[in-house]
């Protein structure tokens, strides 16, 4: 797959279940060699969108093209899917289990065994190859589930909340694997409602809210379009200043510093001057980019 080539194209897709509309007029493009973040609160329509891409359910209207073709069973084999609702056959041995998931994607022969060994080594579970999955810890099971999605070397990898429930060491390990796959030219669609995770891993973002797309674009573009209107402050005294709504539209207090989102029309210089005038001792005063979380909350709470 040539990098940057559009591999997943969703065009004007609507899907409803009875009265309830899960996805409205959604269009998006995911490209090879990039991580595409599908983000949004619970119930925004992320999972329904993904299910339409992997052909579990069909859109009511609109089209979905993978590699420029409408989905069919042979294309399904080029997708790896790790759903949010996932599990393993409890009594099956890890190796048998992985072999089954590879074969169900039409992968045959010796390469299956090679891949099983490679991936188990990669996630540091080689010693567990002959264990039944019910003997594995939850974190281990999650890593095996991840392998089931990638064992057949798919061109498109769709991960729905892949890191939930993993400890930081394993999150780091999995993140490395995802980035390696991206460098290998795979298209990765990454769905999450954890903004900090999306911020660290995604190249492109599509924000969904209440069945509709709020915005789509590269993470860089989105952040710069929001401008540097956020200030990280650590100071003693002058508390009343930060609470002034004419200056600060939103204040988030952390343990070691506060984060102030400037009110429209206010600027950082004024804020600093007011703090000094109020007799505050400044430990830190730094202009920062808005976090994805801030953008998300701003966008979601914005009147449509």
């Amino acid at each position: 797959m040539a990098a940057n080539e559009t591999t997943v194209k969703v065009d004007g897709v609507t899907k409803s279940f009875g009265e309830f509309t899960a996805v409205t007029e959604l269009s998006l493009n995911a490209r090879a060699g990039r991580v595409f973040g599908l983000i949004g609160p619970n119930g925004a329509g992320k999972t329904t969108t993904i299910r339409m891409i992997v052909n579990i359910t069909a859109p009511d209207s609109g089209t979905i093209l993978l590699f420029g073709r409408r989905i069919d069973p042979s294309l399904q084999d080029r997708i790896g899917y790790l759903p949010e609702e996932r599990g393993l056959y409890k009594k099956m041995r890890v190796a048998d289990q992985l072999r089954f998931f590879a074969e169900i994607k039409n992968m045959r022969g010796k390469q299956v065994e090679t891949k099983i060994d490679e991936w188990l080594a990669r996630v540091k579970l080689s010693d567990w190859k002959q264990k039944r999955s019910m003997e594995l810890s939850k974190g281990m099971q999650q890593k095996i589930q991840f392998i089931t999605a990638v064992i057949h070397d798919p061109d498109i990898l769709i991960l729905d909340e892949p890191f939930s429930g993993l400890d930081p060491v394993n999150v780091e390990l999995m993140k490395e694997i995802v980035l390696d796959l991206k460098r290998a030219g795979k298209t990765i669609i990454f769905s999450t409602h954890q903004m900090e995770v999306a911020e660290k891993i995604c190249d492109d973002i599509c924000l969904l809210n209440r069945s509709r797309k709020v915005f789509e674009g590269s993470l860089r573009e989105i952040k710069s379009s929001f401008g540097r209107n956020s200030v990280a402050v650590r100071c003693e005294g002058g508390d009343g200043v930060l609470d002034d709504p004419a200056l600060v539209s939103k204040l988030v207090r952390h343990v070691d510093e506060d984060q102030a989102l400037l009110a429209p029309g206010a600027d950082a210089q004024t804020l600093l001057k007011r703090l000094l005038d109020a007799g505050a001792v400044i430990g830190k005063f730094e202009m920062v980019e808005p976090s994805l979380n801030d953008i998300f909350i701003t966008k979601v709470t914005e009147p449509a």
């Binding site: 279940f17 299910r51 579990i56 393993l88 056959y89 089954f100 074969e103």
Partner: protein, 438 residues
Amino acid sequence: MKKFLTVVRREYIQRVRAKMFIVSTVLLPAVMSLFIAVPAIIVSIETPPMRVAVVDQTGRMYSQLRQALFNDQQESETQNTNTGGPRTPPRRSFSRFVLEEVKADNQSLDQIRANLDHRMSARDLDGYVILPPDFLSSGQAEFSTRNPGELFAPRVLQSAINRAAREQRLIDANVDSKTRQELFKPVELQSVKAGAASREANTNASFALVFAIGFIMYLAILMYGQIILGAVIEEKETRIAEILFSSVRPFTLMMGKLVGVSLVALTQLTIWGIAFSVFALYGVGVLASQGMPTTIPNLPFSHYIYFGLFFLLGYFIYGTIYALVGSMVTTAQEGGQLAMPIILILVVSFYLFWPVSRAPDSPFSFWVSMIPFTAPVAMLVRIVTQTPPFWQIALSLAIGFSTVLVIMWAAARIYRVGMLMYGKRASIPEAIRWARQA
């Protein structure tokens, strides 16, 4: 197709490897053999022959009686060798006799009695028979034994004395030996099926065979229906369904599971069948030695093919019901209750045995042999009574197996929509709506 085989293979191997499968497969024949073998061994314990003295005051009976008893024993032994099966215990081992004639020799009957009683208490003798001088006309004889609780010996002895007396009376009436043999020649009564191709079809044995097939079908459905149900629910409970549905069609998955479990059932039934035939060989020998008819009814080969096909039809029709129920519920317990009323139809279809066998070509029989849920039993009854035209058999099979596919198709749709709908249990109207939904 490859994916279908992958699903079938996983289902089959995982189940056949499971401890439960191995234990239940081995345990049933083991328990069965225990039930069959233990009584057989106990019965076959050799007892010494019964020593009986005969006081023949008629002077003509002793040799006849000896002959009659001797024939009995010979007969049972020749039959054993004829069946060629494993050596069966001699059936009359508990009533073998050693006879001894006691001559009156001028002693009074009381003296003889006292003498014999004495020998009995000395365990020199087990019993004695007194045939009084007027025995041939009065038919009154006397049997004294050390062990009046012995049930079989007096009966065997009585029947032998009876035959001996009959024989002697005929000799006394100057009937020659050839006529005597002809007089006692047994008759044979054979039920013969009317019709062009029929030879000596044994209708009773055919019915027994159909009933046996129906019964095995019923047992197989009871045993494996729950397993099919569990297999269908497995991916819901383990939350694998969504991963699978991104790779294989729900219908392929459902059919794969049904076929996989059915192959497991076939494996187990075959193992049991082989074990059973081993016992049966032994059992046939025992039955044959007691003069029971044990031959397999002589039926056209095509009938055996029909038996196989309708057995499969019955199994799959009801097996798919369990799959359908499995697609609607979230736990196996719920499913078992939901499937039960449908299995009752199978029990009811057994009662069709009688009306259909009385009028195999009535419109009623025709229709019940076309309805998929009653066809397996009804059509088999028709085939062994008045074989219907081929097109009817073919039509019944075609309707039946199409129904299986339709049920599986509906089950697959309900399963998929159910999974998309927050994984809740479907009510019947909902299930119907889901099956119709794209």
